[in-house]
């Protein structure tokens, strides 16, 4: 598990999903992204490296989350040459992993960014991630080293997102 987390941190990759046109892909029966608990997620929220992390909490059932997702992916490709890392923490329901999350991840090719948080101690970890977070999603954490900011809000335009991330980047 630690090795796996490290490999994400270092290479920014998860096992690649074979890419095929959607219409011939059989219904996937395994989840290609990692399911982790909060103890396993926490190191990803406290990396001491000089990388700017954008951690977005989302779910396929959350319409505003799905709407803002492209803005995050756009930003990720824009900062490809920067020490920048996008993590999409899915809070999908267990019953939806195969039925909804897996097809979504495949279709959008976002497997490299997605981890699934499965941990019933929400009353603990919501406040541990940020004391001000009420638990509504979408929500986004931006951090680099000790510098942190948390946003319990939806982003509607690329500019709004860039405005909150720019102060963290060495541009």
């Amino acid at each position: 598990m630690i090795y796996w987390l490290l490999s994400i941190l270092i290479q920014g990759t998860l096992p690649k999903v074979e890419e095929q046109p959607m219409w011939i892909v059989p219904a996937p029966d395994t989840l290609s992204v990692q399911v982790i608990n909060y103890d396993e997620l926490k190191p990803l929220l406290h990396s001491k490296s000089d990388t700017t992390y954008v951690v977005n909490f989302w779910a396929t059932w959350c319409a505003p989350c799905v709407q803002e997702l492209p803005l995050f992916l756009e930003m990720d490709s824009m900062y490809r040459d920067q020490p920048f890392k996008l993590i999409l923490v899915s809070l999908d329901f267990k019953k939806d992993y195969i039925r909804k999350l897996e097809p979504f991840v495949r279709e959008r090719k976002i497997g490299d960014h997605v981890v699934v948080l499965e941990d019933n101690r929400a009353n603990f970890w919501i406040g541990d991630i940020d004391p001000e977070w009420s638990g509504a999603i979408p929500a986004t954490l931006v951090y680099r080293g000790q510098q942190r900011a948390f946003f319990e809000r939806t982003f509607h335009h690329a500019d709004e997102l860039h405005d909150i991330v720019k102060p963290f980047l060495n541009l």
Binding site: C62, F93, K94, A122, N123, G127, G135, I137, E152
Partner: protein, 202 residues
């Protein structure tokens, strides 16, 4: 005298500043008294908390038709009302969403849902979205347990497992009601849970 006046001015200025920048700062906290409201129920009648006679408190739940979390708690909210209304703690459900942002949360859809599920409790529409910000509700479902005098005694989640009622290990809300009935302060008085944002025009 002069310095007192200065302090007052400063306090006024600070208050104005805070309320202008972040209205949510004014939201009710545990121990504060909630103002009553008047909202339209699915039966077309306006409902206020004062309309409930002889109650020991109110289980105010901000919920809606469309949020999967709210849906997962629907049966549990019905069960809560069926269990606690007779003990003087009725459920008062309020839909805080702007239906122009979330079409399934319009008043007609609330009426349909209420009929389909045979809601035994009032299901009110926060038309104009004035009530949920006063409470400081941020998500659906979001529970506020009030005592008979409308003092807020507990804010947060119903229990600790949205996805599976059979796997719940802590019933936060029921424990809070039990504390009130025993004359104690609920502990915890606040809990957090994942939920859907309340839908407002951007």
């Amino acid at each position: 005298m002069k310095s007192q006046f200065g302090k007052l001015l400063l306090a006024l200025f600070t208050f104005t500043l805070i309320s202008a920048v972040a209205p949510v700062v004014d939201a009710y906290k545990v121990g504060e008294q909630a103002a009553d409201f008047s909202l339209k129920n699915v039966d077309g009648n306006m409902v206020s908390l004062a309309d409930f006679k002889g109650v020991n408190g109110y289980i105010v739940v901000f919920t809606c038709n469309t949020c999967p979390y709210a849906e997962m708690y629907e049966d549990r909210i019905i069960a809560l009302h069926n269990k606690y209304a007779s003990q003087g703690y009725p459920v008062v459900a309020i839909n805080p969403n702007d239906p122009s942002v979330k079409p399934g949360d319009d008043f007609a859809s609330m009426q349909t849902r209420s009929k389909e599920k045979k809601f035994p409790f009032k299901y009110l529409f926060d038309d104009g979205q004035k009530v949920y910000p006063a409470f400081g509700a941020t998500r659906t479902p979001h529970v506020f347990l009030l005592d008979a005098n409308r003092y807020i005694r507990y804010i947060g989640a119903i229990d600790d497992n949205a996805q599976d009622a059979s796997l719940v290990s802590v019933k936060y809300l029921e424990n809070a009601i039990a504390s009130l009935k025993a004359g104690n302060n609920p502990d915890p008085s606040e809990t957090k849970a994942i939920g859907c944002t309340i839908k407002v025009k951007s």
